[in-house]
């Protein structure tokens, strides 16, 4: 089973839930794979301390202009949907940051003057702590596109872990392409929100996105106790299950800032995380 932990708003507790949930489930002798897909700023690794067992550079394919073969027909520019290839006077300029590696310019060049070449975009690391397998994708500084690395990190997990391992994906925030990539193959999406007007606003955006993707989704409310009851009322009205409420506490903030897992020091948070784990257990039995 694949579960993505997502949110519209940033900083609502995706990583808190992902890491605590994964560690708690692993503690109960279940093999679990936690993958940090927030490749622009992965931070699950701050809370999961395991042994590094694998590391590799990650590449995306970018066209490289071959001046000697080019006849300046401008076909490459015309087929590029991302304005990443521009024919200017006597030269074809490739904007690699805009390129989506779709191969159109390269495949459709009548002169084969734009062969695709690998360009390093980031790294993938794999850690192990007892039953907890942790995979992290991390984009290099200066790289603008998260989607290719998210896609390849997902492929790595698919190809290197057995199907029966539970897989938890810590998704990036927002509702744009990286989030779509990080949720589209999952069986269940857990939307983490906080009970504030900002939290509710972005929860609605996430709900709209997940409905469009026809995904099963549930909500976890983090920092329960602040704000107001509008998130609860909204979920009730929309028939969205609220799996758990993680209580707001200063102790949680302190533990988090030290890179500690919250459920180990705050019993109320352990109870909340266990509710989520139980729900996942029930869902896995159904499948």
């Amino acid at each position: 089973m694949k579960i993505s932990i997502a949110s519209g708003k940033g900083g609502t507790g995706k990583t808190t839930l992902s890491t605590n949930l994964s560690a708690l489930i692993a503690e109960k002798n279940n093999d679990i794979v936690l993958t940090d897909l927030d490749v622009e700023e992965p931070n699950s690794g701050l809370f999961i301390r395991g042994e590094l067992t694998h590391s590799q550079d990650m590449y995306k394919m970018i066209p490289e202009w071959d001046k000697d073969k080019c006849v300046l027909c401008r076909n490459c520019q015309n087929v590029c949907k991302f304005n990443a290839v521009i024919m200017m006077i006597d030269e074809v300029i490739v904007f690699d940051k805009l390129c989506h590696s779709c191969y159109a310019c390269s495949e459709l060049c009548p002169q084969n003057a734009l062969p695709m070449q690998p360009q390093k975009m980031g790294e993938l690391k794999r850690f192990k702590y007892k039953n907890l397998h942790f995979v992290e994708g991390k984009l290099d500084i200066g790289q603008e596109q998260a989607v290719p690395l998210i896609a390849q990190t997902l492929d790595y997990v698919d190809n290197n872990f057995p199907e029966n391992h539970l897989k938890i994906y810590d998704a990036p925030p927002g509702t744009s392409c990286p989030v779509i990539e990080a949720t589209k193959d999952s069986d269940l999406i857990i939307l983490v929100t906080e009970p504030t007007p900002f939290g509710l606003h972005d929860l609605k955006l996430s709900v709209d996105t997940m409905r469009k993707l026809e995904k099963d989704f549930v909500v976890v409310i983090n920092r329960h106790g602040i704000g107001n009851a509008n998130v609860k009322d909204y979920c009730k009205k929309e028939n969205i299950p609220v799996l758990a409420r993680i209580p707001n506490s200063k102790k949680a903030a302190q533990a988090y800032s030290h890179g500690n897992l919250l459920y180990k020091v705050i019993p109320e948070i352990k109870t909340a995380i266990e509710k989520v784990a139980d729900y996942i257990g029930t869902e896995m039995e159904k499948r």
Binding site: F82, N83, A84, I86, M88, I89, E91, I93, F95, K97, L98
Partner: protein
Amino acid sequence: MKIVFTAKGKDWHSEMDPRFGRTEFLLVYDEEKDELTTYDNSDANRQAHGVGPITAQKLFDLEPDVLITGNGPGGNAARILQKGDFEIYTGAMNMTVKEAYDKFKNDELSKF
């Protein structure tokens, strides 16, 4: 001399558009003919990415001697613009096209 302005409207009284790539109009003033012509660039805003280079390409087709704009072109557009043999002046924002022209004539804009 042919001078191109990035503008939000079509005449001398229009406000300058501080953006290069996503400027709504490109206004071309031909000093010899004393003629102001307009090129609509509003389709640029329907594109998500990479607008700068496309606008830069349009600018080349206008064969200007000078470009006057606000914030100045971004990195991608600048890569294209440096291939041209025209001068670029920035800092012409929060003013009309006429005011920008006068400032250019008085040497009050910064060269890019």
